[in-house]
Assembly symmetry: C2
Homo-oligomer: 246 residues x 2
């Protein structure tokens, strides 16, 4: 078996995104199309908070495995993006502006008390993946960022148009993300193309991106099952105030 | 805050089972009530295979954390139960008799290629829980076995009565389990009652059992979402032959 060229590998990675990125999930179709109730948007933001909160833990786990100062320095930017330079700054703080704006109690959100187990397990699978697989696979698993600028544009436009309970201010997380995602995914893609040169490592890299698509997809499966249809709330999960009309 | 007595702790543990054990899940109601299609029973057995296959990995992870020979020896019985004394013996092999009997290709089942990501993430969350929490919590998380003899009786009776594609032979896994589950849960319950003597450790033990109930529950949520309603198959998941009628 011959290895692919770097550009063939990139094409295969992009093909995974075209087929498996969570932009295609029915929950996102509802969310971006303005068909969610406020309670459903709350449930999405509350659950997605845990993903946001664990991203720097994932990134620090990755940095902890790097032997090169240059790579650690590059990846460190992601910690800065998410944790900010001071209290109230950074991606996690901006996500909490969204949950605040949606009327969720901040202590409740941060406590994770209402989290779906499906969210918890998917997010933690991502952290464990990064800790337990090769550094190359860990880096490749970040490549869903390649596809995020598009979903963020759709989300911003769709949500601002459709929901009177969100504003440009509460959606600040999304307006800040695209240039950072672009910078990060440019770096990770170049790294993967440079380092995955054998059939085995190329296969592993493709599997890593599929895995990460599965993580994002499973989070939305969990939301759909609990809050859209058939609305089977797992024991202990967040109950929206408008639950009867959810 | 005063600690509970051991019997009060046991009562609280049993109360968690009464409220959160997966016997109450809508998927089990369908499965045991004879309302599943063959494809749905296949999907359940295929996904549950991964849980069975990882139980000895979980148990070995627990043994690896024990400093006492007596506890390791006691827990080692579980490895014997699941892995058997020779090829074709033990719980995992009996589970594969079930998937064989349901007409699933054994190589396909064992490859995990058709597994729902929700199953993978839930099962792996269990293994990681046992590795990363205290030994007491790890042992407490096994206590869903307290409630399993009842569900197994219901399952055996319900499935044998309702499905012509299963037999007492293919369901041999279940007829073998109850005495083992009883022995194991007697030991784990006595251990937990003896060692959880402070409010903090008692709280941790109760949370560990809730976590484990969440694992089993989330596996059925994933099955329900993919194979019952709204039947959103995640990319790559097992497609039953009778999918159009599932």
């Amino acid at each position: 078996m011959k290895p692919m060229s770097p550009s063939e590998l990139e094409a295969q990675l992009r093909d995974i995104g075209a087929r498996r990125y969570h932009r295609l999930h029915p929950f996102h179709v509802l969310l971006h199309g303005g068909q969610c109730t406020k309670g459903q948007v709350q449930a999405w933001a509350l659950n997605r908070y845990y993903y946001q909160a664990m991203i720097p833990v994932k990134d620090a786990s990755l940095i902890a495995r790097c032997n090169e100062s240059s790579l650690r320095r590059e990846w460190r930017r992601r910690l800065v993006d998410h944790d900010g330079e001071s209290e109230g700054d950074g991606g996690i703080a901006r996500w909490l502006k969204l949950t605040d704006g949606l009327g969720l109690d901040r202590d409740y959100v941060v406590s994770l008390a209402g989290l779906l187990p499906a969210t918890r397990f998917a997010v933690e699978a991502y952290v464990h993946f990064v800790r337990e697989n090769t550094l190359l696979e860990a880096i490749a698993s970040s490549l869903t960022e390649l596809f995020s600028p598009q979903i963020i544009d759709e989300r911003l436009a769709g949500m601002l148009k459709s929901y009177d309970f969100v504003s440009a201010d509460t959606l600040a997380y999304f307006s800040a993300r695209p240039p950072l995602a672009q910078r990060d995914s440019d770096f990770a893609l170049a790294y993967v193309k440079h380092h995955a040169r054998t059939p085995d490592t190329q296969h592993a890299v493709l599997k890593a991106l599929e895995f990460k698509c599965d993580v994002l997809w499973a989070m939305l499966d969990g939301l759909y099952h609990a809050y859209v249809a058939p609305k089977h709330l797992p024991p202990g999960a967040f109950v929206p105030k408008d639950w009867s009309s959810v």
